[in-house]
Amino acid sequence: MTMHKQVARAAAKPAHSTGPAAIEATGLVKRYGSMRALDAVSMRADRGEAVGIVGPNGAGKTTLFGALAGTFPVNQGSITYHGKVITYESAATRCAMGIARTYQVPRPFIGMTVFENVLVAARAGGGRDKAEAADFAAHVLDETGLMKLANTPAAAAGLLDRKRIEVARAMATSPQVILLDEIGGGLTEAELVELIVLIDTLKAGGMTIIWIEHILHALLKVIDRLICMSEGRILAEGDPHDVMENPAVRRAYLGSDPE
């Protein structure tokens, strides 16, 4: 058992480490009782890089996002953002520094319009003053195709629009790193294409993207590097196609042995 853990830790060291990463996690451990949701996870994303994360349910992907975004405090390990240690900063502070995230199940603010949802993020997270925030929120609504819904209650939006609100709110905080949690799930193929266009725009704008996704073909269109997680550990990482060909990944994630 101990041997096994040591091997896993050794394997989890970052693949390359040149210059400060946009965001870097080292040896993250998150325990829930006796279960280790994160078991010494180390990963990094460089500036402007798009990193995909795959793995079976319960692999610790969303827990990793919670740790990076600051919503779950970790038991061990450290997180740096552009070389600065942020392990103990609150989620709101990390957001103001430039880390944004979206949720797998969209969580719009109920009782607010779509515009207000984005405005909150533009003012609090983006640190803009009143007039500037309103202009920027409108700009983000244009980019995410939500302008026509601006003054409707967020609670009334459909699934695609709720996902767009998630992305719009994250964008409104002017992030440098954006964490996307299964943003493509539950969408039709046509809707997915629209979403990929939007994410490509973010990437073209120089944003660092970390994207958890089960829909591989969508993920592979955008990402530069792929990480596969399983049981709280990093199983493999590197070139997306190499990772998907890795026998351990195929066993854990696809549930099948390579032919």
Binding site: R107, F109, I110, V120, R169
Partner: protein
């Protein structure tokens, strides 16, 4: 008789302004912070006691006393939340109740220790405002103080509504009320939003306490009764709705004053009865909504009741049958 009812309606409606102010703070805490502060009434009394002391002992004019007391109470609300409520909220549903009951007891006994058990009032300090009135056609008497309190209630609740709707802090508070974690991810510190809401709530309680002491008397133990009135107004008006809280306060006030017409003891009883009726109505409406509407849910209930009365005859398809085996 008619004049008496009209008078009671008017006075009750105006009294509702007082209830609305004390209830607005409670409503904000329940609706936004999801925290029930059972010491809310005691904080109202503390506000009154501080104002009375500043005026009577310090010789500060009443208006200035209030202006000094309100920010101090806001600060106290902020600190209370940062030190006590925030921790209590992390400890499950029972801890906030125990902590705020304890806080209420500490406040009551602390005030008793400081100021003794005598009844105190601001009535003497506000001169003719405490009894002056307008006489309307038909002999209807309209007290100037109740009108002032009611107007203040409308202004305060309107301002609070605008603040929540239009300002950065208001949106932060509403975002936090909807989803604290998602709000954090938008850069809103949910702790700061909660502390701000607690500061506003305690300020409103203290303002209500001042009006209570202007209208009549307070003792260190007046708080729990005010808490009950505040809860009743919040529930009648609907939790989380500020406009509803104003209406809830007025309904409570009118019920009490109409009850007072029936018998001198009827006043409080009538208020409580209206509260219980509204509560039962809301619960049964929700029950009916979750069971396919009134007609369907009542029909099923009637069938269930009949079965119970007739000895619970088993349903036909559950009866043992030899044919069923094949």
């Amino acid at each position: 008789m008619f004049d008496g009812v009209l008078q009671a309606l008017l006075q009750g409606g105006l009294l509702g302004g007082y209830y609305a102010i004390i209830a607005a703070g409670l409503s904000l805490m329940v609706g936004v912070v999801r925290f029930i502060n059972l010491a809310h009434g005691d904080m109202a009394v503390l506000g009154a006691m501080v104002t009375i002391t500043l005026t009577e002992v310090g010789g500060v004019p009443v208006l200035w006393s209030i202006m000094i007391m309100l920010p101090a109470m806001a600060l106290m609300g902020w600190v209370m939340h940062a030190t006590l409520f925030q921790r209590a909220m992390r400890g499950g549903f029972l801890l906030p109740i125990l902590v705020t009951i304890g806080l209420g007891a500490a406040l009551q006994n602390g005030m008793f220790g400081l100021w003794g058990s005598n009844t105190r009032s601001l009535g003497a300090s506000i001169g003719e405002l405490s009894w002056a009135s307008w006489i309307l056609p038909g002999g209807i008497i309209l007290g100037k103080l109740p009108v002032l309190i009611f107007v203040t209630a409308v202004v305060v609740i309107g301002a609070l509504h605008l603040m929540l709707k239009k300002t950065k802090l208001g949106r932060a508070i509403r975002a936090t009320a909807s989803d604290p974690e998602a709000a954090e991810m938008c850069g809103v510190s949910s702790r700061q939003a909660h502390r701000a809401a607690a500061a506003i709530a305690v300020t409103l309680a203290a303002l209500a306490g001042v009006f209570l002491a202007m209208r009549g008397q307070v003792t260190p133990y007046s708080g729990p009764a005010q808490l009950i009135f505040a809860f009743e107004a919040v529930v009648i008006g609907g939790i989380g709705s500020l406009g509803g809280t104003l209406i809830g306060g007025m309904v409570l006030g009118v019920s009490q004053s109409l009850g007072g017409l029936i018998s001198p003891q009827g006043s409080l009883l009538a208020g409580h009865l209206v509260f219980v009726s509204v509560l039962i109505w809301r619960l049964s409406r929700d029950w009916a909504r979750d069971h396919g509407g009134w007609r369907a849910s009542l029909a099923i209930s009637a069938i269930k009741l009949r079965r119970r009365l007739t000895g619970g005859a088993p349903a036909p398809d559950r009866a043992p049958s030899s044919k069923g085996a094949a």
